[in-house]
C-alpha cells in the first residue's frame, strides 16, 4: 500500500519535473496563426464583426473567442477559407444575411460637403483627401467600402455606390448546368434569348 503511494508520488514528481523542463525548452513566443488568419481577412477595417479592426478579429478567432462567420465583407468565401485553415465546420454568415451585396465604395457629394474633416478622421485607411473647410474627396482605388465615414458626416453627403465592373474585373459565372437543376440551363440560353430579341428590330 505504502510502497504504491510512494512509487506514484515519485513517478508523478519525476514526470512533473520532466514536463516543467520541457515547457522551458519548448517555450512558444508568439503565434503565427494570427498572421495567417489576418492575411485572409479583407482588411476593410469596418468593424462589422464588433472588433476594432481586422487584426483584433484575427486574434479573437485564434484564441477561439470569436466565430469565423462575423465578417460580411469577406462573405462565404472567407468563411470557407477560414474553415479550411482552421479545420472547423463552415458556418452560415451571421447577422443580417443580406448585409453584403458585392463591393462598394464611398463617394462624397461635392456640392453638399462642408469640409468638416469628420470623415477623414473616421477613415481607417486614409482614403479620404481634404482639409478643414475644403471640399473632401474619396480615393476610389483605396476605399475599402467599410461605411465608417457615412455615420459621422453631419450633412449626409457620403453615399455608398457599388463598384463598377470592368472587362478586367469581370468573372465568368459559375456554370449551373446540372441535371438536378431544371432551371439551371437557362443561364446559357439567356444570352441567346436576349440576342434573338435584339436581332429582330
Amino acid at each position: 500500500m505504502l510502497s504504491g503511494i510512494l512509487a506514484f508520488i515519485a513517478l508523478a514528481s519525476f514526470f512533473g519535473l520532466a514536463l516543467g523542463l520541457a515547457a522551458v525548452v519548448f517555450k512558444v513566443e508568439s503565434s503565427p496563426v494570427i498572421d495567417q488568419i489576418d492575411a485572409l481577412l479583407p482588411q476593410t477595417q469596418c468593424g462589422q464583426c464588433s472588433f476594432a479592426g481586422c487584426r483584433p478579429y484575427a486574434e479573437a478567432i485564434a484564441t477561439g473567442d470569436a466565430p469565423i462567420n462575423l465578417c460580411p465583407p469577406g462573405g462565404e468565401n472567407l468563411i470557407q477559407s477560414l474553415a479550411d485553415l482552421l479545420d472547423v465546420e463552415v458556418l452560415p454568415l451571421g447577422e443580417e444575411e443580406d448585409a453584403f451585396q458585392g463591393p462598394i465604395v464611398a463617394v462624397i457629394i461635392e456640392e453638399t460637403c462642408i469640409g468638416c474633416t469628420l470623415c477623414i478622421q473616421a477613415c481607417p485607411v486614409d482614403a479620404i483627401l481634404g482639409a478643414a473647410k475644403q471640399m473632401h474627396t474619396v480615393i476610389e482605388s483605396e476605399c475599402t467600402g467599410c461605411e465608417l465615414c457615412v455615420a459621422p458626416c453631419p450633412v449626409d453627403c457620403i453615399e455608398m455606390i457599388p463598384v463598377k465592373q470592368t472587362l478586367k474585373s469581370w468573372r465568368w459565372p459559375e456554370p449551373l448546368y446540372n441535371a438536378n437543376n431544371k432551371e439551371a440551363d437557362t443561364i446559357f440560353t439567356t444570352l441567346d434569348q436576349v440576342l434573338a430579341e435584339n436581332v429582330r428590330p
Binding site: 481586422c54 485607411v125 453631419p154 465568368w172 456554370p175 444570352l191 435584339n198
Partner: protein
C-alpha cells in the same frame, strides 16, 4: 517541292479531336470590301493590357489612319481611326466580349471621303529590308497598333522586342487555322500571299531566327500552293519552309503547332520563347507588311461571315469599328433562321451580347448558325469518370480532376492540376458523354483565381495603410503627451517662481507701476473675449452655408433635429 520536303518528320501532339471543318462555305470567294458604315464605334481597348488614352476630342475632324488613342504603359497598343469623319462622342458602348459589358469607345460619323492621313512607308518592295534597323521596324509596328491577330491580342512590338533580346532560333508562323468555319487566314494566304511572305521576312529579321516554319493544315491546299509559289520567287536563303500538318483540332494552338513542327514542348506555364521559339499568326504578318511597306496602321481586318443563316458566306475586309449588324446585312442574314450569333468559331467563340457591337482587332469570324447546325448541349449529367476528357486534352491535363475541384471552388487544388496551362480549346467539353460544360468550369475557376489575387492585393494595401495610420495616430498621441508633459513642467516652474514673486510684489504696493506687465487675470479675460469674438465671427461666416435654398435649409434643420434627438436618446438610455 524540295523546300517543303526537307522536313520529313512531324510530331503528333497528345489528344485533339477530328471536326467537320465547314470551311468551304466561305473560302471559295475572293475577299470583298465591306461597305463604309455611317458610324464607326472604335473601342479604346482592343488588346491585352492597358486601354489606349484618347487623344481626340468630341467634334474633332479625323482622317483615316489618324491616331485616336496612344498606348498607355508598356503593354498597350495605340488605336487609329478606320475612316475619315468627325468624332461625335467618346463614351461607353457595348463591346464584343462574353461579359456583355461596355467599354470606352470613340464614335466617328464618317464623311465618305475615306481621306487618308499621311502614310510614310519605311521601305518599298524594290528595296532590301536589310537597309532597315530592327528598332525602326519595331517602332513602325508599335505605332501601327498591331497586336496578335490570331486571338491573343498581345501587342506585337512588345513580343518582338522580347524575342529580339532572347535567343530565338526558330520562327513559327501559325497558318493552321484549325477551328471549323473560320477561313480568314485561308483566303488571306490564297489571295495575298506576297503580303504574308514579306511580313514574315520582317518578323524573321527582327527576332534573328535562323529558320522559319509555316505550319498550315492540310485542308487548305490552295493556300499552301499560293504560298509555295510566292516563296519560290525568292532565293532559298530565306530559310522559310511551308509545312502541311495533319488536320486535327486544335493543331492551330500555339503550343500544339510548335510541338507538331519541332517536337519541342513548351514548358508548363512558360512561353515558346523559353525554348527559343516565337510564334506569330499569318494575319499579324500581313498587318506588319502593311505597316512597313505602306505605312498604314491597323485599321481593318479580314472577317469571315459564315453559317447556315447567312445567304452569302464570305470573307470581308472590314474597317475596325464597323457595327457587326452592317456587315451581317451586307452578307445577307436570314433572320427567320438565326439561332446563335457567335464571334469566333464554334469551339472557342462566344455568343455576341448584341449585333450592335463593333468589329475589333479580335474579330476573326462571325458565325450565324441556323437551328440544328450547332450542337446545343443538353443539361449536364453526372460525371461517369470515363476519362475521355483526359484523352482528348491537347495539353495532357486532367480535366475531370480540375472539374471536381473547380466545382467545389477549391482554387488551390485546381492550380495544383495546372489549370493555367489550359488553352480553353473545348475538346473536353466536346467529347464529354455527360455534356458537362468543362471549359466553362475552367474559365470560371481561372477568373475566380485572378479575382482572389486582386482581392488579396487590395487587402494587403488596405492593411498597410491601416497600420500606417495607426502608427501615425500613435505617434501623434505620443507627441501630444510629450508636449503636455513639457507644458506641465514649465507651468510647475512658473508656479514655483510665482510663489516667490508675490512676496516681492507685496513689497511694491502699487502694481500699476509696471504697465508693461499686465495682471495675469486681465490677460486671461482678454484672451477669452478675443476667442469669443473670433468664434462669433466664424459662426456668422460658416462656409457653404450662405445663400442656402429653402430646401437645403430645411434639410439641415432636419438633420440637426435628428442629431439632437439622437443625443437625447443616448442620454436617456444611459
Amino acid at each position: 517541292m524540295s523546300l517543303s520536303s526537307t522536313l520529313s518528320h512531324l510530331w503528333p501532339f497528345p489528344g485533339g479531336i477530328k471536326l467537320t471543318s465547314n470551311k468551304t462555305l466561305s473560302n471559295q470567294q475572293s475577299i470583298t470590301a465591306a461597305h463604309l458604315s455611317q458610324q464607326l464605334i472604335i473601342p479604346l481597348s482592343q488588346h491585352i493590357g492597358q486601354p489606349a488614352d484618347a487623344t481626340v476630342k468630341v467634334g474633332d475632324k479625323v482622317l483615316k489612319g489618324q491616331i485616336l488613342g496612344y498606348a498607355h504603359g508598356p503593354v498597350s497598343a495605340p488605336v487609329h481611326a478606320s475612316g475619315s469623319g468627325i468624332v461625335t462622342a467618346i463614351e461607353e458602348h457595348l463591346v464584343p466580349h462574353p461579359s456583355g459589358l461596355s467599354s470606352l469607345c470613340v464614335f466617328i460619323d464618317t464623311d465618305g471621303y475615306e481621306q487618308w492621313t499621311d502614310c510614310s512607308p519605311l521601305i518599298s518592295t524594290e528595296q532590301n529590308i536589310s537597309e532597315l534597323s530592327n528598332e525602326q521596324i519595331n517602332e513602325q509596328i508599335a505605332n501601327a497598333g498591331i497586336v496578335g491577330l490570331g486571338g491573343a491580342l498581345y501587342p506585337s512590338a512588345v513580343k518582338l522586342r522580347t524575342a529580339e533580346k532572347m535567343h530565338t532560333d526558330t520562327l513559327v508562323i501559325n497558318a493552321a487555322e484549325c477551328e471549323p468555319y473560320i477561313t480568314c487566314d485561308d483566303v488571306l494566304m490564297q489571295r495575298r500571299p506576297e503580303e504574308v511572305i514579306l511580313g514574315i521576312m520582317l518578323i524573321k529579321k527582327i527576332v534573328g531566327a535562323k529558320q522559319c516554319l509555316i505550319g498550315i493544315e492540310d485542308n487548305k491546299p490552295e493556300a499552301y500552293q499560293a504560298l509555295l509559289e510566292t516563296i519560290s520567287g525568292y532565293n532559298s536563303e530565306t530559310h522559310i519552309e511551308i509545312i502541311q500538318v495533319p488536320t486535327r483540332y486544335p493543331a492551330g494552338g500555339e503550343k500544339q503547332l510548335i510541338q507538331v513542327l519541332t517536337g519541342k514542348e513548351v514548358p508548363t506555364q512558360g512561353l515558346p520563347m523559353d525554348i527559343g521559339i516565337i510564334c506569330h499568326n499569318v494575319t499579324t504578318a500581313a498587318a506588319i507588311y502593311h505597316a512597313v511597306y505602306r505605312g498604314e496602321p491597323l485599321v481593318s481586318r479580314i472577317v469571315t461571315i459564315t453559317g447556315g443563316a447567312i445567304k452569302h458566306p464570305q470573307n470581308m475586309e472590314v474597317p475596325l469599328g464597323t457595327p457587326i449588324r452592317d456587315i451581317l446585312n451586307q452578307a445577307g442574314m436570314d433572320e427567320s433562321k438565326i439561332e446563335k450569333i457567335i464571334m469566333g468559331g464554334p469551339m472557342m467563340g462566344f455568343s455576341l451580347p448584341s449585333i450592335d457591337t463593333p468589329v475589333t482587332k479580335a474579330t476573326n469570324c462571325i458565325l450565324v448558325s441556323k437551328k440544328g447546325e450547332l450542337d446545343t448541349p443538353p443539361p449536364a449529367m453526372p460525371c461517369i469518370r470515363c476519362a475521355r476528357c483526359s484523352d482528348s486534352c491537347p495539353m495532357s491535363l486532367l480535366p475531370q480532376q480540375m472539374y471536381w475541384y473547380a466545382k467545389a471552388r477549391d482554387l488551390e487544388k485546381v492550380q495544383d492540376y495546372n489549370i493555367f496551362d489550359c488553352i480553353e480549346c473545348g475538346c473536353c467539353s466536346y467529347v464529354c458523354p455527360s455534356d458537362i460544360p468543362l471549359v466553362q468550369y475552367f474559365r470560371y475557376a481561372k477568373t475566380e483565381i485572378w479575382d482572389d489575387e486582386r482581392e488579396r492585393n487590395k487587402s494587403n494595401i488596405a492593411r498597410d495603410r491601416h497600420e500606417f495610420r495607426e502608427e501615425r495616430l500613435e505617434k501623434a498621441k505620443a507627441a501630444k503627451a510629450e508636449a503636455a508633459r513639457i507644458r506641465k513642467q514649465k507651468l510647475a516652474k512658473k508656479k514655483a517662481l510665482n510663489d516667490q514673486k508675490p512676496l516681492e510684489e507685496a513689497k511694491s504696493s502699487d502694481r500699476k507701476k509696471n504697465p508693461d506687465k499686465p495682471d495675469s487675470a486681465d490677460l486671461i479675460q482678454e484672451a477669452i473675449a478675443r476667442a469669443k469674438a473670433k468664434k462669433a465671427q466664424q459662426q456668422s461666416k460658416k462656409k457653404n452655408t450662405d445663400n442656402l435654398t429653402e430646401a437645403q435649409q430645411k434639410k439641415i434643420d432636419e438633420i440637426n433635429e435628428r442629431r439632437r434627438k439622437r443625443s437625447e436618446d443616448k442620454k436617456s438610455a444611459t
